[in-house]
């Protein structure tokens, strides 16, 4: 039997009554010492104490919806309390002896009480009156309860009977009728009195006799017509009732002392009872057999209560209460890549696909696993064998190894199950699993046939084992975690972490989160501690984000922690869940009913912190810009982490802004905020910071604000600002502040003022000395005269030459001192828009554009986008070639060959035989046949340019696997037909497939055109051609696409070559005509629209400059036809108007705008329609016939006009 899971225990005097709050994690406990305690059993804290009863309190109950509870005690009193105001609201007096139980009605404002005065009473707590007294029991009534739905009451008494009462009459009377006759009113007014004798409101329906001693407790089944009672005869009796009668069904025997209380399990077919024999017993409702029992050493149990909604019970005993649950609610589950495997409440194995958010039907039923009422504990999944290991705590721990069916076809019983005993079982390798036996402290390593291959004695006493990376186990001991190598049978690493219960590996397998009840410890795969954190609330589960953030759930929160230990709350929870996977904003979990759920979370905060830790400023910036990430927590976090300048971006509050600005030395903001707040303290701090930065203008302002005159004076002195210093002297005079005047006079070196001032305050001796020292004899005389003294009266000490204050050498007051550079991070600059790369990096700077067209960059961008859209649909990988036709004749031949001894055919040879594609022959190393094929297909004759491509394909065709020492590596052949094993269908992988050409090279080529980098462009496009001549594709549409890319590349090569040719002669005056012709031909090849505009604009300008107005007009019209808006169109329009006015060409060139013609790719002259021409078999470029037999100028590989069958790219 599994043991019960204790969730909370309190220590107190004897607990006589218990009540659960239906929503909050609270429990009320009434004690034998007159105290009522309110506990938070989740936190384990005592919330409140209520002490107004005199003597033991036995009855206690929470109201379902109101913030009320009721208690009844040995002082005969029933008290109704508010737990909000924390005081007793009123007392109901009436009982004449101890009150045993009190209960609220589930909907009516009634309280039901039972008492040793042999009565059961119903009270209305709204008008605080007694509305019914039920007599009939002839000994103490120990317990009375309302039926959860019907108008029934059940009571138990020491008179050995259980009674069921019908109170429908009472309800009728108290449910307000719409109109009342006089008689009714009379009857009602006298109701209480009448009841005293008549008992008409509540009548005994059944009297259940069967207990041989007094009955202590009784309760109704929540849904079925069943009653359970517990008595001093040590029996728990089950009763059934119908409309008309009630009878005893069975007795649960087992308690060997008085049984004090009992109840039905709210959701399962179980009965729970407690007794003075110090046990809690669980019984099967249907079989009335004992399922489980739990014994305390010393404490007799007095009461048991069930939580109305969740799987939680509480039992009160001699020394307090214990809150417990009967079974683990954690579902057994395992995660492999994008799949979750779990066992639901029906013990069915199911899977869940995270990518599609779909739950599979049941795959297996594990009904027979373990014992009934005992859910499986863990599940381990083996992807290689598609099998699962399930453990169950039943029978001292068992495990089963089961293969999952290929398809989920319903809850079938597993066939071919292998089982054994053990407390934990996990897969440790593809074909091995470890079984831990707690009692013998051994770990058996078993193979898939369930036979033990080796046995390991655990290095210390451990509680559990977990997968520890391939070939290793993590052993969880009470105070340490050990990484244990199974093969070497030794401890690899050990870390002191206590009480680890669960282990969660990160997706990349580099980190592990060790979860204990209140701690999360993150360690590396070699068990080096990375970080650790403590939670006051129990930790339930955890899962890793792909970016290396651990999300974990406590009883009431989902939280996150970064690897460095920074953590925070993501959201609160209403119910306990078990996290399984997080993907972006989606958090997958299992609830306690083992149903997969999807929660929406906001990962912004931890993404932001992660970006901060990784100094990924771009990401931080984008998070700041796109989300409303504010809040005190993030600000203090940033401040703590030393990023005040970033925190500054979030804050509105001026005080905080000021603090942050000072911290990061951002004076501008600090000044602004100081002005707004205008408090002396702030100015003082500002002045200090400004001074340390050397910004004395801010210092001056701060001093002015502070009216700190002496400091100002000194500042003016050191900055050499004499003018202001003079003004300070004036101010001092004005203020009658002699000290300040004296000081300023000294700073100014102004002796007269000093003497004057000394005289004013009658300090003649000092004035005299001052005058004397400065040799102002006349003044001396005047002083003597004024004071009536003679020179002899004054004894003057030896006077040295007076010094005058040194003057500032550089009058720095005009400008600030060189400032200390305040830290301005990348981030701040980015926010100020100084980092240009962020928003505009895609656009080519127009200055580098040789064509000088402004719209161009935009067009180019749009064009790229179009290209993507148009071709993005086909998602080819180039690895799977699809089906290849099977060649039967060759198959026979092959079968014969492989039978005999001797050397076989290498895979390379097979490739060459299986494929008509040149690229495949190259991969096979059969260069001769490859060349032959190319020669026949596209007339290739000059192979030199293709050599890099040949070697590239060949080099990538094989891998080298080190095998037996001393021998060369085994060579294996890389296939694009990864899933194929039929030797007649296997084909080589060809690097740089169509996809890569499309997404890389082609793009680069177009970008080169955009950037006016024509030599490079020609090279890139030619590279595209050389790549595509040796490639393979997957289907017909890709063949078409490849041909299209070949045509595009060809057109661009021709266009770029024409323009390059033109540039070579551009400045040659004698070639003006040719120049103009070439620029006109440049407009001929079929380019993408924006590039055609470039050609046309160039041609238009050239023609216009050469005063070929008609021609310029023609190009202008074509420009306008393509786009009638923008700067280019504007220019074109002007040129067109001008051209039409002029109406003639200065130079006659060979370009007929009305005729149809192509451009010869060798001579760059027109081939008018009707004229003979000759084509290159590969590129399709046209040439004048005289070029027949020479090498194509575009591809540089193929021979113009060679007979050719066409390029093959598809293997069929």
């Amino acid at each position: 039997m599994q043991s019960m899971l204790t969730k909370f225990e309190s220590k107190s005097s004897r607990a006589k009554g218990i009540a659960f709050h239906s929503k909050r994690p609270w429990i009320l406990v009434s004690l034998h010492t007159s105290t009522i305690q309110l506990w938070d059993y989740r936190m384990g804290t005592l919330i409140d104490r209520f002490e107004e009863h005199d003597g033991p309190v036995r009855g206690i109950d929470f109201h379902r919806t109101q913030p009320l509870f009721v208690s009844g005690g040995d002082d005969y009193k029933i008290k109704v309390w508010s737990y909000q105001t924390r005081r007793c609201l009123f007392t109901l007096n009436g009982h004449l002896d101890y009150v045993r139980t009190v209960f609220f009605h589930h909907e009516l404002p009634w309280i039901l009480s039972s008492s040793d005065d042999q009565t059961i009473r119903i009270w209305n707590w709204q008008n605080r009156s007694l509305i019914c007294t039920m007599t009939g029991h002839n000994h103490y009534t120990m317990c009375a309860q309302f039926h959860p739905k019907e108008d029934l009451i059940v009571s138990a008494s020491l008179d050995q009977s259980v009674r069921v009462w019908d109170i429908s009459g009472l309800r009728k009377k108290h449910s307000a009728p719409t109109s009342m006759t006089f008689e009714d009113q009379m009857a009602r007014a006298n109701a209480n009195q009448a009841d005293m004798f008549g008992n008409t409101d509540a009548v005994v329906k059944f009297v259940l006799e069967g207990h041989d001693r007094g009955v202590n407790w009784v309760s109704f089944h929540p849904t079925l017509p069943l009653i359970i009672s517990a008595g001093d005869d040590r029996n728990v009796k089950l009763w059934r009732m119908s409309e008309t009668k009630a009878w005893e069904v069975d007795t649960c025997r087992g308690h060997f002392q008085n049984s004090s209380a009992c109840l039905f399990h709210p959701h399962q077919d179980l009965i729970l009872s407690v007794g003075e024999d110090k046990t809690i017993r669980v019984w099967d409702l249907n079989k009335r057999t004992a399922v489980q029992s739990f014994k305390r050493e010393n404490d007799r149990f007095w009461v048991i209560a069930a939580h109305p909604e969740i799987n939680l019970f509480a039992a009160g005993h001699d020394n307090g209460v214990m809150v417990f649950k009967l079974e683990r609610e954690r579902p057994a589950y395992a995660i492999h890549q994008n799949n979750l495997f779990f066992i639901n409440k029906e013990k069915h194995v199911r899977s869940f696909d995270f990518t599609q958010n779909i739950q599979s039907p049941s795959m297996l039923s594990l009904k027979k696993l373990g014992a009934p009422w005992v859910p499986p504990r863990t599940l381990s999944y083996n992807p290689a064998e598609r099998s699962i290991l399930v453990t169950s705590p039943a029978d001292g721990g068992t495990y089963e190894l089961i293969n999952l069916p290929k398809d989920a076809s319903g809850a079938v019983e597993p066939t071919d199950t292998k089982r054994g005993t053990g407390n934990s079982a996990v897969f440790v390798a593809r074909n091995r699993f470890a079984v831990f036996n707690s009692s013998s402290q051994t770990i058996d390593i078993k193979d898939l046939s369930n036979s033990t291959t080796k046995t390991i004695k655990t290095p210390t006493s451990i509680n559990d084992i977990y997968f520890g990376g391939t070939g290793c186990l993590l052993l969880c001991a009470p105070s340490t975690v050990i990484l244990y190598d199974i093969q070497q049978k030794k401890t690899v690493a050990e870390l002191a972490v206590s009480g680890v219960k669960y282990v969660v590996w990160s997706n990349d397998g580099l980190h592990v989160a060790l979860l204990s009840k209140h701690n999360v410890t993150i360690v590396t795969k070699t068990l080096e501690q990375v970080s650790s954190l403590h939670e006051t609330i129990r930790i339930k589960s955890a899962t890793w984000d792909d970016v290396g953030v651990l999300l974990y759930s406590t009883l009431n929160h989902i939280k996150y922690t970064l690897l460095n230990g920074d953590n925070g709350i993501i959201r609160t929870l209403d119910e306990t869940i078990y996290l399984t996977k997080v993907k972006g904003r989606s958090l997958f979990c299992l609830d306690r009913q083992a149903k997969p759920k999807l929660l929406d979370i906001d990962p912004t905060e931890y993404r932001f912190k992660l970006a901060l830790v990784k100094r990924n400023y771009d990401e931080m910036l984008s998070i700041i810009k796109t989300s409303n990430l504010v809040g005190q927590s993030i600000i203090s976090y940033l401040q703590k982490k030393g990023y005040p300048e970033i925190a500054l971006q979030f804050v509105q509050d001026p005080q905080t802004r000021f603090e942050l600005a000072i911290e990061c030395g951002n004076l501008e903001v600090a000044v602004e905020m100081a002005k707004e707040l205008d408090r002396p303290k702030l100015w003082t701090r500002l002045s200090a910071e400004a001074l340390s930065q050397g910004n004395h203008q801010v210092v001056e302002m701060a001093y002015q604000k502070l009216r700190s005159f002496d400091k100002l004076s000194f500042l003016y002195l050191v900055t050499g600002n004499i003018e202001k210093l003079n003004r300070m002297a004036k101010i001092a005079e004005h203020r009658n502040d002699y000290t300040a005047r004296f000081q300023n006079a000294i700073y100014l070196g102004d002796v007269e003022t000093r003497i004057q001032m000394l005289k004013e305050i009658d300090l003649y001796p000092l004035a005299y000395v001052t005058a004397k020292a400065h040799g102002l004899n006349e003044e001396c005389e005047a002083i003597l005269e004024a004071s009536g003294l003679t020179e002899e009266d004054i004894k003057i000490p030896e006077i040295s030459v007076p010094t005058s204050p040194s003057k500032a050498i550089v009058p720095t007051h005009q400008k600030n001192w060189p400032l200390r550079t305040a830290s301005q991070s990348f981030f701040e600059r980015a926010l100020l828009g100084q980092v240009e790369s962020m928003a505009i990096e895609d656009e080519a700077p127009s200055g580098t554009n040789g064509f000088g067209l402004d719209e161009y960059a935009d067009n180019g961008k749009r064009f790229n986008g179009d290209l993507l859209d148009a071709e993005g649909e086909e998602d080819v990988t180039g690895w799977n070639m699809g089906d290849v036709d099977l060649n039967l004749e060759q198959a026979d031949e092959l079968a014969v060959e492989t039978d005999g001894a001797g050397v076989g055919m290498s895979e390379a040879e097979l490739w060459a035989r299986n494929s008509p594609i040149a690229a495949d022959h190259v991969a096979a190393g059969s260069f001769e046949t490859a060349m032959q094929l190319l020669n026949r297909q596209v007339g290739a004759v000059n192979f030199e340019p293709l050599k890099p491509r040949f070697m590239e394909i060949y080099q990538a065709s094989k891998t080298y696997l080190p095998a037996t020492v001393g021998l060369p590596p085994l060579v294996n052949y890389v296939r694009r037909t990864v899933e194929e094993t039929d030797s007649r269908r296997i084909l080589p992988a060809i690097p740089r497939d169509l996809e890569s050409v499309r997404t890389n090279d082609l793009r680069k080529g177009l970008a080169a055109m955009k950037a006016n980098n024509l030599e490079e462009g020609v090279k890139i496009f030619r590279g595209v051609l050389h790549n595509l001549i040796l490639t393979t594709v997957q289907n017909e549409s890709e063949v078409e696409e490849a041909k299209k890319i070949i045509r595009t590349a060809t057109e661009y090569i021709i266009a770029m070559s024409i323009e390059l040719e033109r540039r070579a002669i551009e400045n040659d005056k004698s070639q003006v005509k040719r120049n103009l012709e070439l620029v006109a031909y440049f407009t001929k090849p079929i380019l993408e629209l924006p590039h055609r505009q470039i050609a046309l604009m160039t041609a238009m300008r050239q023609a216009f400059t050469c005063q070929n107005f008609v021609l310029a007009g023609h190009f202008a019209s074509r420009v306008l036809a393509n786009s009638s808006q923008g700067k280019n169109a504007e220019t074109a329009r002007k040129i067109k108007v001008r051209s039409e006015r002029e109406g003639k060409d200065a130079i006659e060139i060979e370009y007929d705008q009305f005729a149809e013609f192509d451009i010869c790719a060798a001579s760059y002259t027109p081939i008018y329609s009707g004229q003979p021409f000759i084509k290159d078999p590969f590129t399709g470029a046209k040439y004048h016939p005289r070029y027949r037999g020479s090498i194509c100028r575009v591809s540089q590989v193929t021979e113009i006009g060679a007979p050719a069958s066409g390029l093959r790219l598809l293997a069929q």
Partner: protein, 297 residues
């Protein structure tokens, strides 16, 4: 008791050797071994020394030894140094005289196979008595002959009596990588298991994992494994060669893997990758010379 069984004394050294951890083999403490196992353990140590390039020391150390085990090892050490003729001669005579000695079988077959006399090597190996190493060698020779069918037969045979041996698992993976399809994934599991366990995570295991992933088309994963292998041994020729192959398959430009190419040239100038490429480069030039355009431009 079979000394190689899971409880046997030689299991550790056997696994170390075949896991490619030669320095661990050399440093392995064999003083506590029983007398009957001292020769096999010494053989492993000597072979490890040869594998780590200490052939000259070994040859000197074994001078004058005449037991077939040590004599054939001495011959192999000399062979490794390039002194092939004498070595082959010694091997031939040892094969003639003591072809039932396990070491003679293995080393003899290795030398014969290297000399291109694979059939003779197979004949010699066919005399083995329950030696897994001999099985592995047969598998490799069969594979190099492109006789995947016979290699597979050999592996299936061995699996019947040594299901769980590291060597049989490896040999099965070698064959699996030739067969392809689902077998790629199985081979991957074997190597991944080795590569991820700290005690067996060697460059060769990582390379095996990477090769399997590469054949499965999982290039980024393969790259990670190869990088790990190169971290452990930056000059591992096979790791470098596979890295180049991978770079090309991933569509990288030559300048991105040229460094590895030059490292490979330094580390193992005669690596099959380089010799093949050089050979094919010549072939290309020869073949290309047969074609010319009719008209010279």
């Amino acid at each position: 008791m079979d000394p190689f069984s899971s409880e046997g004394e030689l299991l550790t050294i056997h696994n170390l050797f075949h896991g490619g951890r030669y320095s661990a083999v050399i440093n392995h403490d064999t003083s506590g071994l029983s007398a009957e196992n001292s020769i096999p353990s010494r053989v492993y140590k000597i072979r490890s020394q040869i594998a780590t390039g200490q052939a000259a020391e070994v040859a000197a150390e074994l001078e004058g030894e005449d037991s077939p085990d040590l004599a054939v090892l001495k011959a192999f050490a000399e062979y490794s140094q390039g002194n092939t003729e004498d070595a082959i001669h010694t091997v031939e005579s040892l094969v003639g005289s003591s072809s039932d000695n396990a070491t003679v079988q293995i080393i003899g077959a290795t030398v014969l196979h290297l000399e291109g006399r694979s059939e003779e090597a197979l004949t010699l190996l066919s005399k083995h008595q329950g030696s897994l190493e001999a099985v592995a060698l047969v598998v490799q020779i069969r594979l190099s002959q492109n006789r995947t069918d016979l290699a597979l037969k050999e592996v299936l045979n061995a699996k019947r009596w040594a299901q769980d041996s590291l060597l049989v698992n490896l040999a099965e993976s070698w064959v699996g990588l030739r067969i392809g399809g689902e077998k790629y994934q199985q081979a991957y599991y074997v190597y991944e298991e080795l590569a991820q366990a700290p005690s067996t995570s060697t460059p060769s295991a990582l390379i095996g994992q990477a090769v399997a992933e590469l054949h499965l088309g999982r290039l980024p994963e393969a790259e990670v494994a190869l990088q790990q292998a190169l971290e452990k041994d930056p000059k591992h020729a096979d790791a470098l060669a596979n890295m180049i192959v991978l770079s090309i398959l991933a569509g990288k430009e030559p300048n991105e893997f040229n460094e590895n190419l030059s490292l490979l040239r330094d580390a193992a100038p005669s690596h099959p990758f380089l010799t093949n490429v050089a050979q094919k480069s010549e072939l290309f030039d020869r073949a290309a010379a047969r074609y010319t355009a009719r008209v010279r431009a």
